[in-house]
Point group: C2
Chain length 645, copies 2
């Protein structure tokens, strides 16, 4: 046996060893190479003036990218730096892998595992080895991506500039220093969305959101602080129960995962019978989830919705469905039960508000400038992700919606004047119809549009309409005509699948990649040397399925192609899959290493119960306020007010 195995062990180690040596040596060879080519320069310190970067800059365009989230980072990874001078502006100098943020709340993993510094992402060293070899071959380095630590407060599509705020200086003297403008040829907005409180009273003052690593840290601290307070001799039974009532409002994946992680933390590490950390708290803790629908995880397949509900109940999360949190005060949360139509107040120790997203103030400000956007509640783009009414401005990820309906109406409406008026040509008001002649013109216009872009839905609409037109061609003034609803049905039939893209990392990521590829292939007008992109493909979302952790080492998975699939058997299989999938998706080796280590550590040693002492410096609260004055912390409402958004 050993004689048969040994040669193989040898061979495999030889190949593996060589691989390791090559990978380990490559950076050294590379450094030496670049140093030899330009001894005065150092690798990475290649500004556009470097002799190592491509000389011809004249025909490069300025690309400004806003934000460092899923959407923007995906653009940055795929954009061709030989075609663009790339500048990223964001008050967050790292990419955040949001799907694992709920695990940070409970201390299962640390925030280092889910953050990747943007300067690492855009550095030459972050390119795959293969690309780096290609650059060595070509003999010049890709241009640097400039990252600016600032928040964007205004976008002006007319002058093609964005205004950036670099600090929150309150005093007037520093006001001009604290802002600067950037001009762009192409702008990509990927500033995400903010938590929607539905204007519920008291949410802003008393609830926690979960969007940033700091949120997760603060949440964990509060849970631990409450546990500590509950263990004091002066704490009454009632107060103890209050302190240890943790509430989550919302029923989407984030809410479910937070509730699951909190419950895991309490169950496995805190009041666990074997590890004895806070055992006086056993019997007093509760995790409650308020969801307005009948089910958890709306939009997920039925099987998964059922599984999630059942698993939540099994791990003793109190799920209150068909209920709405209507008000939050310092001491209690009011929950309205839709079935009984009654409201009950519950004392709470902590509330996590995770009910969905709405556009942030930058987006609202931009929308208010564009008449094309005035009817909408969120920023609308065409199917190439270009903001309606703002040529050269692209918006991707949570901050915008592709709305082909809007595009359709916008593009067609532009040609035909107000469609509404056209329709009213014949028939009574509630059965407005377009004459066949009108339809003919419409078909011509749609044909033009669908030829101009290879938009699949547009050309499909053309075919359906022209067929209809040809069939009724006998009488151009056919009283039948085509009704508004018919027209809309035809359009919607082809647009529907793309219309409602959920605000997920998956969509943002795919849009980023799509957009980079689109922008990498400009059609350059030989005369005016303007760049256009509408010959390019439109965005098509490929649903890769959904993964959600439901607690107690159970996860649920749905892959759209193969119908819904949830390995509920022991759950551990799907749970491993869940881990493996996220491990794979996290593209930074350093973060991956951290993630793997954190998982091992928390499963071996349990999660830590150490509270952070904030600071011993006398000035620490000022320092924290200064840091809030610094441009980190974008998404708070107070912050927006301060920078005048």
């Amino acid at each position: 046996m050993k004689h048969r195995l040994l040669p193989w062990v040898k061979r495999i180690s030889a190949v593996g060893g060589t691989g390791v040596v090559v990978v380990a040596l490559f950076p050294r060879v590379e450094d030496a190479y670049w140093r030899r080519r330009d001894p005065h320069r150092v690798l990475g310190d290649h500004t556009s003036s470097s002799s190592l970067s491509k000389a011809a800059h004249d025909n490069k365009k300025n690309l400004v990218v806003l934000g460092t989230g899923w959407a923007s980072v995906s653009v940055l990874k795929h954009i061709d730096r030989d075609k663009y001078h790339v500048t990223v502006v964001s008050p967050r100098n790292y990419f955040l892998f949001t799907p694992l943020l709920p695990s940070v709340c409970a201390g299962t993993i640390t925030s280092e595992a889910v953050t990747v510094p943007i300067r690492n992402i855009t550095s030459y060293k972050a390119l795959p080895m293969w690309d780096r070899i290609r650059f060595m071959w070509r003999g010049y380095l890709p241009d640097r991506v400039t990252y600016l630590y600032a928040a964007v407060t205004d976008v002006d599509p007319l002058t093609k500039t964005v205004t950036c705020r670099q600090e929150m200086n309150d005093d007037k003297a520093g006001a001009d220093k604290s802002s600067f403008d950037l001009s762009y040829d192409v702008l990509v907005i990927g500033t995400g969305a903010t938590t929607n409180t539905f204007n519920t009273e008291g949410v802003q003052e008393h609830c926690y959101y979960l969007k940033e690593t700091g949120d997760a840290t603060l949440l964990r601290q509060t849970v631990l602080r409450n546990l500590e307070k509950a263990s004091l001799p002066t704490t009454t039974e009632e107060e103890k129960r209050r302190l240890l009532s943790f509430w989550v409002v919302g029923g989407g994946p984030t809410a479910v995962e937070v509730a699951a992680e909190l419950q895991d933390f309490l169950h496995f590490d805190i009041v666990n019978p074997v590890h004895a950390t806070f055992n006086q708290c056993a019997g007093y803790t509760s995790v409650n989830l308020v969801q307005s629908n009948k089910d958890l995880l709306p939009g997920y397949p039925k099987k998964i919705r059922d599984f999630a509900l059942q698993q939540m109940e099994r791990s003793k999360v109190e799920v209150i469905t068909e209920a709405r949190a209507t008000k939050v005060t310092r001491d209690s949360i009011s929950v309205y039960d839709k079935a009984t139509k009654s409201t009950r107040d519950f004392p709470y120790g902590l509330i996590v508000w995770a009910t969905g997203v709405e556009p942030g103030p930058l987006i609202r400000r931009l929308m208010s400038k564009l008449p094309e956007q005035s009817h909408y509640r969120s920023l609308k783009t065409d199917s190439q992700c270009q903001v309606l009414g703002a040529p050269g401005v692209y918006a991707i990820g949570d901050c915008a919606d592709i709305d082909l309906q809007a595009e359709y109406e916008y593009k067609l409406g532009k040609n035909f004047g107000n469609l509404h008026n056209k329709y009213s040509a014949i028939g009574p008001p509630n059965d407005k119809r377009l004459t066949m002649k009108g339809l003919g013109k419409l078909v011509d216009r749609v044909k033009e549009l669908s030829e101009h872009s290879v938009s699949a839905p547009m050309s499909k609409i053309y075919h359906t309409l022209s067929e209809r037109y040809t069939n009724s061609n006998s009488n151009p003034d056919d009283a039948e005509g085509i009704s508004q609803s018919e027209l809309q049905d035809i359009a919607q039939k082809h647009l529907e699948r793309q219309k409602i893209l959920p605000p997920t990392a998956q969509v943002a990521h795919q849009q980023g990649e799509y957009l980079a590829k689109l922008l990498n292939q400009p059609k350059i007008d030989p005369v005016s040397s303007t760049w256009t992109f509408d010959h390019g493909p439109t965005f098509e979302f490929a649903d890769m399925g959904q993964l959600v952790y439901v607690g107690g080492h159970m996860a649920a998975l749905s892959i759209p192609a193969s119908q819904d699939l949830s390995v509920s058997w022991d759950g551990s299989m799907t749970n491993y899959l869940w881990h493996a999938a996220y491990f794979g998706m996290l593209e930074s080796t350093s973060a991956r290493t951290e993630l793997f280590f954190d998982w091992c550590k928390s499963s071996l040693f349990g999660r830590s119960t150490a509270l952070d002492a904030i600071c011993s410096s006398d000035n620490h609260i000022e320092e924290l306020q200064r840091s809030e004055k610094a441009i980190t912390n974008t998404p708070t409402r107070k912050w927006w007010k301060k920078i005048g958004l």
Copy 2:
């Protein structure tokens, strides 16, 4: 070759494998055992009423321990829980491994690697396997250590109570709820010391201290924030240079290590020619260290002092010796040069103040209650660490000094009335002498004292004095007598070595262990059943040497026995030793694993440059203020004021 190796490989794996299996299975066997003994109870959930803990509580004493630092934790680890009901009170619910805190500032390691939750330290599961087997043998569990998350605001040695503050509630209604009293039989104070600003103007407002993990995090954030600001297009050259001027005030090990870590971070990760993160900042950064002495590391052997200075200069830290920081304003630090007697102002981006320690307000309040302490600037204990003037109160670590001089004067003075008056029996005021008769009485008293305790110095003093008395015994009223200075010289000769114990973790740790052992061996009076300890040994400090990291992968080591020893050759040897030593000292397996991982990670991937976004919740500053109102953050002056210290 392989045939000779293989059997050994087999044998070793067999033994190792069995070991691993035993260690892995033991907890399960253990859990099963305890569950069987008491099916209604769960392991660890053994309050004093548990049938599994020793029944006889009547003759147990209440031990209250203040603080969760080096000193207190060392007591907790060694105290016999069969003799004491142990309660720990501290606003920090974890132990902090301070020697590695400077590495956290630069992000070389994370704060998880240097913190161990106190509840883990005191849990049954934290006992060594051997002890746990012993408890299984005996059939009962050790009593739980009660940890209370509160700050102590007052100690009353008369009523033997401590007052604890559990939260910083400002409103009057909650005032009675926010405090509680604990009574003790034995009290151990290990509340550490605070940073000494020497009342330098502006330090409190503008400088950072380095005592807690939060300090390290804030420091790292500020360095990164300054780097980001320096990289903005609107930042002038001058401003850039200011933002990137990092200052450290102090010349002790903490100051040196912080400067070294900051410089390493800047050199290896930030403006490093190979990794390109903030290369626009190259040439603008500086790390400056202001030290009032001629040397760094006062108190260390000369060879190490020289090595440190030389190494700091080699790694381009600007060391300004014989200088004092005299004032700090918002924009500049004033440095007074002792040689030229001139003051220069320097702009700065960040100042770390690390110049030494002073007693905190709790200690000052206690001192003000004890007339025996009125002449001193710090809390004095006798050689058994008992606070002078407060029987049953022990103080160890940075918060107190053993002063045998004080003990000597106190103990002898108590018997002889004021020694001062005795001395004035003969001779002019500036050569006061004690008559030989007086000396005779003194000798009797010292004999008594030295018999009562086995205090080595005391019995040595007795021998010297009695020798002297015997020699001059011929004339009991000998006009020569003994002068105050002679008496002090004799005492000091024997006390000197122990007098000046440095405020280090080493001392605190040894004192804790010593004290636990002392308290574990009470002499119980059969009649009054009072417990006394003065028959026990006195504390003797065993200097184990010093280790200090001086940057550029170089460390210095001094072991007192073997003279000073500093492997400056390549430095890497000592550097490995430095790593190994701290790894060994960090007693928690979980923290050790984290430490090892962090070291590997930062050397493989470099330190992260991700800033933390504090929070997206609208209430986050309030939350931070609430957490400052919570009792974390003890050591700030504002905090003290709030709780009335």
